[in-house]
Amino acid sequence: MGHTIWILLLPLISFILLGLGGNKMKPKATGVIGTASLAGVTILSYITAFSYFGAGRGIDGLFPTLMPYDFRWLPFMDNLSINIGILLDPISVMMLVVISTVSLMVHIYSMGYMKGEKGFQRYYAFLSLFTMSMLGLVVATNIFQMYVFWELVGVSSYLLIGFYYTKPAAIAASKKAFIVTRFADLGFLIGILIYGYFAGTFSFTPETSRLMSAGMMISLALGLMFVGGAGKSAMFPLHIWLPDAMEGPTPVSALIHAATMVVAGVYLVARMFPLFIGYAPDLLPWIAVVGAVTALYAAVVACVQSDIKRVLAFSTISQIGFMMVAMGVCTSADPHAGGLGYMASLFHLFTHAMFKALLFLGAGSIIHAVHSNEMSAMGGLRKYMPVTHITFLVACLAIAGIYPFSGFFSKDEILAACFAFHPAMGWVMTAIAGLTAFYMFRLYFGIFWGKENKELHQTHKPHESPLSMTLPLVVLAVITCVAGFIPFGEFISSNGASYHIHIDMKVAGISICVAVAAIAISTWMFARENQSVPDALANRFPGLHKAAYNRFYIDNAWLFVTKKVIFKCISTPIAWFDRNIIDGFFNLCGKVTSKVAAGIRFMQNSQIQQYCIWFLAGAVILTIILIF
């Protein structure tokens, strides 16, 4: 498995090459270099996956955990250090495949989408940096390496959101994304510090005896780490950065803010899953609750947004909520007895990455055609963009959970795990799945059917995108159609043993019925030329509509905290205190000194007679003192 190092090195080399020499190259050359290096990475990842899974299970019935590289990068103590290396186990290999596939598609797609943009080479340099960091994150051999690359994906996300650096909205969004996730990372870091001290190592497999003696501290550490994961994965209430992150170029949204980086939190929980189950089982239900609240909140908000990328952003948040719920409802490591959620969550991560990237790339194709993000500029586009239309429909059916598209299979497993955990959880998640189908088809009908914006389309006729953009759409659509039939449980399950996925007919029946019903309602409401029903509903419940449209004012609450509390109530007074009280004190010292000096200055008036008097007076006083 020695070749795996090139999976990290190729994008790194491409980043350095494009970063240092990019502006001297032709834009097209930079795109080719970036894409070629990614193609290399993809081939290597597939080779790795085939040889890893092809080698089969060991004697113990598990896939082996390989560590072809583990370099002591920053030593702290004899036993504690940050290592940088490569860890191969089922989930990291699966992630390699997901990331390289989506990233390659995005690289190819961007050749068409970003054509003629200023900063084309910068764009490809950042994409390479991101891909390298994300791959480094998933193959991390220890929690600290994960943190290192975690920060790097954060910064590449910052750089790419702020790609259009002259747009104020993009600047604000990039700043917000970085600071919110940094805030969450603080929890992650403190969690790592606690973990490192009590477990005596940063590796994922510490000694059991140390963990037992640490007691509650391991729970605390894992809880804090989850905060970091919640920030990156946009869990409520740390989700506020993700919708704004849509200011970045659309392919970036597809790669970073839909398919790969935002699921890092889920991956973190999956990575620490043995510890969660073994030492902090009480935390898992809380993760499930956070996930469910997020999923519900985002689904409701997504129903009323008008910017297609925002709808997709909230749908991403909601779907990650599903994955978190699935992780949280696990009650044991055995997939047959309460551990199904682990497999379901990662399965959904896999299928979601494909169809959500497809949705975003499709949205990019649409935006490319009509030069607007707003649904009002669209409508009736099916005539103009057949390929985009069909692939988008495939993705919508997948996310809605319709058989035989991939989303059906993974969502079904999640719902089965939820029903096994608690019927209430199962019904709630089923309802949210229904909402998902509803808002996705609202989006679909709003774009491709509905009322056409004829005025706009006459001045600028929408057109199908070039091959470089439609090809990735078709590839991803094909994957979306067939991915559900992958026997995912054979490769990945909560205890590593082979798990045969079987469709629970009762759960599948309910979920399909709900999804079909939701699509039907959506069709009834939005597929027509006039939008009387939704308008009537919005007028009937103006408060609710407005609140949902404004995302229930969560952003405003955060804005209040940062602007009013941190700026006005902490920083400004501190700065004032520093300039006036502390510095004022030292200035006062200086002033007093010079005043006193001016006061006693008359004694030094260079008159010899006066000096004699002072001298005599002193002599007399000293004599008197000496005598008595």
Partner: protein
């Protein structure tokens, strides 16, 4: 007997002679480049030679030691010697002196005099790091401080006389405390030696330690921007010319941390035990307070000065945690902060030289006008907020992991509070970058501005390369330092 370390004083002296003799700007530049590159080469050689000697099995605490009696009655000697910490500091100083030369390449007027004082200052810095004798250290410390007054007062900008006076007086106040502390250590240990290593083996009565430790710590702490004695830093840095800011924030502030560790803590461990928590509170305040103050500043140099307060606070914070890892982290932070802050001040100076303002509210969209400088500023900013791959991350992580090894609950609480600074740092860095580099150009005058010249690029690229080198391959520097921290720390903890 010739000591290789004395080269670090001889070269600056020769440079000053050369500067004095040179007749035009070209000769001045020639002398400066020749001298400072020689110093840089020497310090790189010293690092490798030092590592080689250690590999060969040298176990003495100080290497390259030599001692010449200077003033017998007070046991003052010219004694030199270095360990891993001082070697690292020498390397840092050489890099900054070298890049500072390029950063003030086009300085006007009185170029010759400026570089004379600049070189004198650097000789003081080198002398301080190679000395092992308390009195010699103090002497070089003073040599490094005094030229600052003239450099800021004459070549500075803004309210330069006020700032120069304030900076000099506050630092001189500190050195008065240091002098008392040094005498306390000398007489407390029986008035037999001024050598630091020898003094550490002698007993200083606990009562004396309790009195003299805070004097020494505060004395050096003033230079290390210890709250509440940091207020010279924003004004001083804001008024100083570019290279002086670089040298001052990059190296001189490190003298504070170095002195706290090598003199105050090392010689008076019992005093440290008594005062530890007091100073820990002050340094924790420095870390968070500096960061919060930076958030609302509008002058680029003030932002960076407050950021320095926060980061230098972290140095002293790490040292007070008294674990091997945290102290190593503290020294790494000195290196890292020295390089990063020098980079910042260099860039700010270059931007100010073009726009003639440092107010971030008046600038916008500079990324379009001067892409090279702007990109370097963003890199510096990302390094400053602790991005992996740059030195800041290495230093901060070593500090935090090390601090957590201190099992005391109070120390842990302080650690958690200090870690919050990483978020606030991100806030002020991104706010600054977003305000004045991104966006559209707001002033048509700015469209005429040019990007970096070759000398500016030299300075900036070298500093970025160093920051990245330390961040990408931290293991050798970390090893170099942690081996030297061990003997110091064993004296601090065991007794």
């Amino acid at each position: 007997m010739f000591n290789i370390l004395t080269i670090f004083i001889i070269i600056p002296l020769l440079m000053m002679l050369g500067l004095w003799l040179s007749r035009n700007v070209r000769q001045v530049r020639g002398v400066m480049v020749a001298g400072s590159s020689l110093l840089l080469a020497m310090s790189i050689f010293l690092v490798f030679d030092y590592i080689g000697l250690r590999k060969a099995g040298e176990t003495a605490q100080m290497l390259y030691t030599s001692s010449i009696s200077w003033y017998e009655p007070l046991d003052i000697c010219l004694s030199f010697g270095v360990d891993g910490i001082s070697v690292a500091m020498l390397l840092l100083s050489s890099i900054i002196v070298f890049t500072g030369t390029f950063a003030s390449w086009r300085l006007q007027p009185m170029t010759k005099e400026y570089f004379l004082w600049y070189t004198l200052l650097s000789s003081g810095v080198y002398g301080f790091f190679i000395s092992t004798d308390l009195f010699t250290m103090f002497m070089f410390y003073e040599v490094a401080l005094i030229p600052m007054y003239l450099l800021i007062g004459v070549w500075g900008s803004g309210k330069k006389e006020y700032s120069a006076m304030k900076l000099t007086l506050m630092l001189m106040g500190g050195s008065a405390l240091i002098l008392i502390g040094i005498l306390g250590a000398y007489y407390g240990a029986g008035a037999t030696t001024m050598n630091v290593v020898e003094l550490a083996e002698l007993e200083i009565p606990v009562k004396m330690q309790n009195i003299f430790f805070p004097l020494l710590f505060v004395g050096f702490g003033i230079l290390g921007a210890l709250f509440p004695f940091h207020t010279w830093s924003p004004d001083g840095h804001a008024s100083a010319p570019t290279a002086v800011s670089m040298l001052h924030a990059g190296v001189l502030m490190k003298l504070g941390g170095y002195g706290c560790f090598r003199i105050a803590m090392y010689l008076m461990p019992e005093g440290l035990q008594m005062w530890d928590e007091v100073f820990l509170v002050l340094t924790t305040i420095s870390v968070v307070y500096g960061a919060f103050s930076a958030v609302v500043q509008t002058d680029l140099k003030y932002i960076n000065a407050y950021s320095s307060v926060s980061h230098c606070g972290l140095v002293l914070f790490a040292l007070l945690m008294m674990t091997r890892t945290s102290c190593t982290g503290g020294i790494l932070q000195m290196l890292s902060h020295g390089l990063m802050t020098a980079l910042f001040f260099a860039l700010i100076g270059m931007i100010y030289g073009r726009t003639h303002t440092r107010d971030i509210r008046q600038m916008s969209g500079l990324m379009k006008v001067m892409p090279c400088l702007a990109v370097c500023y963003v890199i510096a900013g990302l390094a400053n907020l602790g991005l992996p791959g740059f030195s800041g991350f290495i230093a901060e992580m070593t500090i935090f992991v090390g601090s957590f090894e201190n099992v005391d609950v109070f120390h842990r609480v302080c650690t958690v509070i200090a870690t919050c600074s990483i978020v606030i740092t991100a806030v002020y860095i991104l706010r600054t970058v977003g305000k004045f580099l991104y966006g559209e150009v707001n002033n048509p005058e700015y469209l005429k501005l040019t990007d970096a010249t070759w000398d500016e690029k030299t300075a900036v690229f070298i500093l970025i390369a160093c920051v990245a080198a330390l961040g990408l391959a931290p293991f050798w520097m970390s090893d170099l330092i942690s081996h030297s921290v061990t003997p110091l720390l064993s004296n601090i903890i065991i007794r």
